[in-house]
């Protein structure tokens, strides 16, 4: 596959994130922190407006934007920072940009934003070209 620096690929990851999907992720990943699934705890004890998604749910969803492009078996690196919290009702879009291609490796930058254009995950990936 030919890669051109600057090419972008946008993927809608989730529309109107449901609390149930956060519960589903808690059950699959094993991270049962009540901040993510327990409204009473999240609001009354931790002081947040409601529960919020695991950063790793956002990163997991973002991974699809990359593996749809390169295939999971070609992936050599994937990482990034959680820059804002993701709440129920949010809709997320990932944008993957080809940053460089050298020596059989393609490097991408990855940015996931919410419905207000606020970045929630800022990262990178690399794959065998």
């Amino acid at each position: 596959m030919g890669w051109n620096v600057g090419d972008t690929h946008e993927v809608a990851l989730v529309d109107d994130l449901k609390r149930t999907q956060i519960v589903q992720y808690a059950g699959a990943s094993g991270d049962y922190n009540p901040l993510h699934t327990d409204e009473v705890f999240a609001t009354k004890v931790a002081g947040y407006p409601t529960v919020f998604a695991h950063g790793m749910l956002t990163m997991g969803m973002t991974g699809r934007a990359i593996t749809d492009l390169v295939g999971v078996e070609s992936l050599t690196k994937f990482g990034g920072r959680f820059t804002s919290q993701v709440f129920p009702g949010d809709s997320l879009t990932a944008k993957v940009t080809v940053e460089s291609v050298d020596d059989g490796v393609v490097n991408f930058t990855v940015s996931t934003t919410n419905q207000d254009g606020k970045e929630v995950f800022s990262g990178y990936a690399a794959a065998k070209a």
Partner: protein, 160 residues
């Protein structure tokens, strides 16, 4: 965290792929590959993982009261303990893949603490960051995934 057996199972991968909204057929079936962030779920195989309710032990989530215990357990790395105003949050996660992970692999995971540093945050008061590096190895002792996580403990809830 040390995990002696992290068994890569078809059903676990399928549940995980569904939870991240990924219907790609490579993640389903007896020869499934694992999604890029799947190793995070090694928490299920960690007998001491502090963000899972355990038989016979108090749990800090709500029941009769907003929290099951008055003081939340401590914790480090990627998770968060909750309790009080400030909380532990996941700040960064980085993976290096040395080879693809598939159903049938049996991994071990060993975690070493990395750097810690402090910063004054704009939205959550004083921030204490701590890094940890986890190596996932296969049956032959070969490195499959290296994971570096950064957790942050905030002085107060993040302002929205």
């Amino acid at each position: 965290m040390a995990v002696e057996r992290f068994v890569i199972e078809e059903g676990h991968i399928a549940c995980f792929a569904r939870s991240i909204g990924d219907a790609n057929s490579v993640y389903y079936g007896p020869d499934a590959a694992a999604p890029p962030t799947f190793v995070q779920s090694s928490a299920q195989w960690d007998p001491d993982y502090f963000l899972r309710p355990k038989v016979g032990q108090p749990w800090f989530g709500s029941g009769k009261n907003p929290s099951g215990i008055t003081r939340a357990p401590g914790g480090s790395g990627g998770g968060g303990g909750g309790g009080g105003g400030g909380t532990g949050l996941h700040a960064e996660q980085h993976y290096e893949y040395h080879r693809p992970l598939r159903v049938g692999d049996v991994l071990t995971a060993t975690t070493k603490p990395g750097k810690t540093w402090e910063k004054e945050g704009r939205r959550a008061g004083k921030l204490i960051f701590s890094e940890s590096v986890t190596e996932y190895r296969d049956q032959k002792g070969e490195l499959v995934v290296t994971a570096r996580g950064v957790g942050v403990r905030t002085e107060k809830p993040v302002e929205q």
